[in-house]
Subunit: 110 residues, 2 copies
């Protein structure tokens, strides 16, 4: 037990859920918002901006990079992070496709 039974769900359901999961942490929301607000890219500033340890920030960035929503470019001894606009828009569209399913009004819910 304690293990999500991915095999009983469709690929689409698993993929959608895993993308929601990446956004399901306030630190990762905060990281994305910070990157967006600064017009240039970021690196260690996140450690100072949020009150989390460097290892923790690095771990969150790794998850964001895993789904491609964030990109990291090496610039000398630091790494510059930015939003991948293409992936950003793709994810928004994927979420909207889910939410745009017709919700019918039913008898039992007033």
């Amino acid at each position: 037990m304690g293990l999500t039974k991915s095999e009983i769900f469709t690929d689409q359901q698993n993929k959608l859920a895993s993308r929601f999961k990446v956004l399901a942490h306030p630190a990762r929301i905060a990281i994305l918002q910070y990157i967006i607000n600064q017009d240039a890219c970021i690196c260690n500033d996140l450690v100072e901006e949020l009150g989390l340890a460097q290892a923790t920030i690095s771990q969150h960035l790794k998850e964001l990079k895993n789904i491609g929503i964030v990109q990291g470019t090496i610039e000398g001894k630091s790494v510059c992070y930015c939003i991948d606009e293409k992936v950003w828009n793709e994810i928004q569209e994927e979420f909207n496709a889910f939410f745009n399913q017709e919700v019918k009004v039913t008898k039992c819910c007033p």
Copy 2:
């Protein structure tokens, strides 16, 4: 450790993340899709439709009810579940408000 440091984030960030978290499981995605596809409400069918135990389905439904996206109405000895269209739309708008932030093209990300 192991505890999310909610106090260092804004209410908006925590709220948004917690809503993403509810959708971050394929069983809950599947439950929502099933309720939407059947034009009437549901109850125990979910246990047969998905291959999960009754206790597990009940737990997932509880989380969906907690954010108000799903409503349960007692109908005799069973409970009829449906989508709360108002909350459904609110959450979609909340997500879009997040995604509609302007993503600027930056120097370090080609």
